[in-house]
């Protein structure tokens, strides 16, 4: 077996493990508020998340990947193709190791930032510090501050808006139905906009900003009023259930969106480096961008789904029991804040994490008085691990790459 084939086989194994990790851990991010608020059951959450992650990964996931994720390292390091594929394998392995460690320590870290950190480790070892694109690194650092802060403000604002427009009024159920096109519309607007911008699907469609905005507004209005029509025929009959019943309906939609977007965006963290190895082994050459075959995307999607099914149940069940203070209006506010932040930050070119945004959203809703007790001391520990992710993954990669280079 040639060293290249060994690297490829190892790449498949580690890529699958990384995908499994994304599924096992990040499921909580997309489905937590929906399950916590009892909008869907644990089983429904798992099915929805597994299916939508595969769909998102295979059909909306990137069909072309940067050889160096997010361009954090300058393309000069690609001069030696053998170096590059060993580097890709090392980065994948190091990111997976770091994510596993964080999993063990119960801390939310970003898979995106882990792979970015690992790439830096590889770049520094093979070509020195000059190889690092510090402006990209600056964006990563900015995203630590911007994404939670932004989500915090949106979460706080959205919950206050719901209180002001709906909950504080005398007939909240009726008010919720009355304003349902606004809330559904806002969510749909964000969903459509983020698909037109954030995902590779949008990039292929190449819709210009004004047109995308108009399309999003149209879709928002249509879905908003269609949603109200459906609510009028179902939820309206149960005024005793109050505003929460209306938001329960809307929340299912936002949770699905987060799962789909997660599959689409995160699959590259596991499959991108594998695609680089695969491309070199198959075609014997390498560029700064390589195509990702659909079977690899599916492979990643299935890996994520496997993680969801195998490890997700326990996560979701514990969540359902522990997170009881999150009602549908709160859950909607958190999801809306996270989705909106991911859209806007990606538009600014920042590699943001859904995890970071969701944490910000929860604190925002907590500040608005929406959650009975938010443990802020945990937040400092969480932030510490966000910041530690890049150097820790980088150092791991230095060790892994140096070791692998001895053998391969």
């Amino acid at each position: 077996m040639s060293p290249e084939s060994i690297i490829l086989v190892l790449g498949y194994a580690v890529g699958l493990y990384m995908a499994w990790n994304i599924g096992a851990n990040d499921l909580a991010n997309s489905m937590a508020s929906a399950v916590g608020a009892k909008a869907i059951t644990v089983r429904q959450a798992m099915v929805i998340a597994a299916v939508l992650n595969v769909v998102g990964a295979a059909f909306i996931g990137s069909h072309v990947t940067d050889t160096i994720r997010h361009g954090i390292v300058s393309p000069e390091v690609l001069a030696d193709p053998r170096d590059t594929i060993v580097g890709a394998l090392s980065a994948l392995l190091s990111a997976a190791l770091w994510v596993s460690f964080a999993t063990w320590r119960s801390l939310p870290v970003s898979t995106t930032h882990s792979i970015v950190g690992a790439m830096i480790g590889f770049g520094v070892t093979s070509s020195g510090f000059a190889a690092i694109q510090w402006n990209v690194m600056g964006g990563v650092v900015l995203s630590w501050v911007i994404s939670p802060l932004f989500a915090l403000v949106i979460g706080l604002g959205m919950f206050k808006l719901i209180v002001w427009l709906v909950m504080a009024r005398s007939k909240p159920h009726e008010r919720a139905l009355h304003y349902s096109p606004l809330f559904i519309g806002l969510a749909v607007f964000i969903v459509v906009m983020s698909f037109l911008y954030k995902t590779p699907l949008g990039k292929t469609l190449q819709v210009a900003t004004p047109l995308a905005t108009i399309l999003s507004i149209l879709a928002a209005a249509m879905v908003g009023y269609a949603g109200k029509w459906a609510l009028d025929r179902t939820v309206r009959r149960h005024p005793e259930k109050g505003a929460e019943a209306v938001f329960r309906f809307i929340q299912v939609g936002t949770a699905c969106y987060v799962a789909l977007a997660q599959g689409a965006n995160d699959v590259a963290n596991a499959i991108g480096p594998l695609a680089v190895i695969y491309f070199f082994v198959t075609y014997g050459e390498i560029g700064s961008k390589v195509p990702v075959p659909i079977f690899l995307l599916l492979f990643g999607g299935v890996g994520i789904a496997a993680g969801i099914v195998m490890a997700g149940r326990r996560v979701m069940e514990t969540l359902g029991e522990r997170v009881t203070t999150l009602t549908n209006t709160r859950g909607f506010s958190v999801e809306f804040a996270a989705a909106t932040t991911v859209l806007i930050a990606s538009k600014l070119g920042l590699p943001v994490s859904t995890t970071h945004s969701a944490v910000g959203g929860i604190i925002g809703v907590g500040l608005a008085g929406g959650i009975d007790a938010v443990n802020l001391s945990v937040v400092f520990r969480i932030i510490l691990y966000w910041v530690l992710t890049v150097p820790a993954a980088a150092l791991t990669c230095v060790a892994v790459y140096t070791t692998l280079r001895l053998f391969l």
């Binding site: 851990n25 937590a32 969540l319 008085g369 009975d372 938010v374």
Partner: protein
């Protein structure tokens, strides 16, 4: 597993208050039965009922400690932490007063409560427990307010707080009546002291319910 959501949420202290209140309600029922038993000549279960009250007070104490012990610095809540503690303290004082009443009665079993004031003592107990019942309803409605932030709900809680105040006033009147009678019945000094102090402790049950209401008023203020 790394779940940000999981670690971020702490058990709701407001749910804890409801749990504590359930013990207060149970205790109130046992207390009333104990007083009736003490007054009646045919009932011999006073010690047993007193034990029930003591056990419930003990359980409620554990809930109180759990709530206080699980709100470290940096816990974000819809209400101020110390207002919540003050509220909980008053709710717990209701139980202490209930327990004190039965203790006080048990110190001097004979001759017990003079027959002439049996009815007045029972009325005072009822008036005080009315205030405690109103406090229970008020807490449940306040819990609902913190879920919905509905203006109507807030008005309802304020009305209930007013009604606690009214009930405390009625308990005060019942307490005064007992004292007045006791002083003018020509009883011996020790019995007078025993009965006056008894009336005061029973009256303080309603006082604590009122204080809890006032604290809740501060918690729901905007």
């Amino acid at each position: 597993m790394r779940f940000p959501f999981f670690n971020l949420f702490k058990p709701s202290p407001l749910e804890g208050l409801i749990e504590h209140m359930d013990k207060v309600k149970e205790c109130g029922a046992a207390f009333q039965e104990a007083i009736e038993c003490h007054i009646s000549n045919e009932c011999h279960r006073f010690a047993e009922l007193k034990q029930v009250v003591d056990d419930l007070e003990h359980q409620a104490d554990a809930i109180k400690r759990r709530i206080r012990g699980h709100l470290p610095k940096g816990t974000l809540m819809p209400v101020d932490k110390f207002q919540l503690f003050r509220y909980l303290g008053e709710q717990d004082n209701v139980l202490d007063s209930v327990q004190d009443t039965l203790d006080w009665l048990s110190f001097r079993k004979e001759p017990g409560v003079p027959e002439e004031i049996h009815k007045d003592i029972l009325l005072l107990v009822e008036a005080s427990l009315d205030a405690v019942d109103a406090m229970g309803v008020m807490l449940a409605e306040a819990r609902h307010y913190f879920r919905t932030y509905s203006e109507g709900q807030r008005a309802k809680v304020k009305d209930l707080i007013r009604s606690i105040r009214q009930k405390e006033h009625e308990a005060d009147l019942a307490e005064d009546l007992v004292k007045e009678k006791v002083f003018n019945m020509g009883l011996d000094g020790v019995t007078v002291f025993h009965m006056v102090r008894l009336a005061e402790i029973i009256g303080s049950i309603a006082d604590h319910a009122e204080n809890a209401g006032d604290m809740m008023r501060a918690m729901i203020s905007k």
